[in-house]
């Protein structure tokens, strides 16, 4: 069995991203460099053969997904896995958390000017955010951070793939000082 085939088998059988380390654990003949070389080779082969899928890198791992040009065919197909889109409010809260993590509810509500506990609950249920620690101040508020699922949902390899703040049309002169007892002090495992 060639390493490329083993890597392909694992990626084929997975419905979520696998890290190079995950894949390397499958066989003694593999290490991370070998896995990455195999993925490179597979990608080129798929490209050359005009396959309907490709290996994409996201959330620190690799996953086989269909190519975007086939979306029109899959869109209306019932048995295909469709991921629900997020509401505008959910996107707003996620954006704030993504850039300011770890951050508590009070600070998020301060920025949005509206109550956000319902949205936070939904995002947590969808595992896009998770409590990552507790802030200082009254009641030691729960601080949230984004998860691996968050990266997967947006197809980001890591948080580095977030649009850079200075690329956004409205540039903040300086990050607003953390107020209201929301000073960052993570104590749990950080986001992936």
């Amino acid at each position: 069995m060639r390493p490329t085939q083993i890597v392909e088998a694992l990626l084929f059988a997975s419905d979520a991203p696998l890290t190079a380390a995950d894949i390397a654990a499958a066989d003694d003949s593999l290490d991370e460099a070998a896995v990455e070389a195999a993925i490179h080779e597979l990608r080129q082969a798929y490209e050359a053969e005009g396959r309907a899928f490709q290996i994409y890198e996201m959330a620190g791992g690799f996953q086989i997904l269909t190519r975007p040009e086939f979306a029109p065919y899959l869109e209306r197909f019932d048995t295909v896995v469709h991921t629900a889109r997020l509401s505008p409010a959910a996107l707003e809260v996620l954006a704030i958390i993504a850039y300011r993590q770890p951050i508590g509810r009070a600070e998020i509500e301060e920025i949005r000017g509206v109550a956000s506990s319902g949205v936070l609950r939904t995002l947590q249920e969808r595992e896009l955010i998770t409590p990552v620690g507790r802030g200082e101040g009254l009641g030691r508020p729960v601080l949230y951070g984004t998860t691996t699922k968050f990266l997967e949902h947006f197809g980001f390899r890591s948080l580095e793939d977030l649009p850079r703040p200075e690329e956004l049309p409205v540039i903040l002169r300086e990050p607003a000082p953390a107020t209201r007892g929301g000073k960052a002090e993570p104590d749990g495992a950080g986001p992936a």
Binding site: F12, S14, D15, A16, Y56, Q63, I64, L65, T66, R67, P68, F70, A71, L74, D78, T79, V80, V81, H82, T83, R85, L86, P88, A89, L91, E92, L94, A95, I96, A98, Y99, I111, R112, G113, V114, A115, H153, F154, G155, F156, L162, P163, P165, L168, P169, V170, I171, L172, A176
Partner: protein, 254 residues
């Protein structure tokens, strides 16, 4: 945005629904009119804001409060603008609008970020993972309800409270807390393995006890703390203790 003076409030509330909150509305007013955000004509904007939120109460208490809070802030800033901007020592005071401008810019910044996230989401959703979602099962044929008026009447009476003139509809606080009924059921099922629903409500006269006890049963069934069985429509309802699952009322109503 076209600001209508003579419109009825209902139309505006529909408009207001579009906005996520007061900052969103305020930003909209400013950006639509090409106003310099660093030099907001506060009197004019305040007037427009107040007009836009007329009828805000229809949004419900929580959301209305957020808009009203912003209205109060705008009115306060408007008043502060009339005060001298220097202290007696000639020291210059901060522009009363400064904090609001900072918040508006910060909010706009994150709205832009949210829009970028949405684009990334749309792009990502055009790629499909492997997987299979079973097709939805055909809806079961509806069961015809076969019963006599006498059976229906007996069942209606069984839930308590006899006839009499229809009670006046009055909204009052919930007199029968669901937590209490959950506890009643949980405690009962600690002692016995099953209990007939009717015997739980028998001691109470008010129909509300029947309703709330039923809601409590459904809630506990949802939490898999008990099982509900009924052999046929209108037959007695039995609540069964679920084996292995210690019934717990502590994490009641959340």
């Amino acid at each position: 945005m076209e600001l209508r003076h003579d419109t009825d409030d209902a139309a505006f509330v529909v408009e207001l629904e579009r906005f996520h909150g007061p900052l969103h509305l305020l930003l909209h007013l400013i950006r639509e009119q090409d106003i310099d955000i660093f030099d907001i004509p506060i009197a004019k904007i305040t007037e427009q804001f107040l007009r836009a939120i007329a009828g805000v109460e229809a949004l419900g208490l929580d959301r209305a409060g957020e808009f009203l809070e912003m209205a109060a802030l705008l009115v306060r800033i408007k008043a502060q603008m009339l005060m001298p901007r220097r202290t007696e020592e000639g020291e210059e005071l901060e522009d009363p609008r400064a904090e609001l401008v900072r918040r508006l810019l910060e909010y706009e910044h994150f709205r832009e970020a949210a829009q970028r996230l949405e684009l990334a989401e749309l792009e990502r959703l055009r790629h499909y993972p492997r997987g299979y979602v079973p097709p939805r099962p055909e809806p079961k044929r509806e069961v015809e309800l076969e019963l006599t008026w006498e059976e229906l009447w007996a069942a209606a009476l069984g839930i308590g409270e006899r006839g009499g003139p229809p009670p006046e509809h009055r909204v009052t606080p919930r007199l029968v807390p669901i937590e209490e009924k959950i506890e009643l059921i949980v405690n009962t099922l600690r002692r016995v393995a099953r209990i007939e629903f009717r015997s739980l409500i028998a001691p109470f006269k008010d129909r509300m006890h029947g309703v709330v006890t039923f809601m409590a049963s459904l809630e506990l069934a949802k939490r898999r703390a008990l099982a509900i069985r009924q052999s046929e429509p209108f037959a007695p309802i039995w609540l069964y203790r679920r084996n292995g699952n210690a019934v717990d009322a502590t994490d009641a109503d959340r």
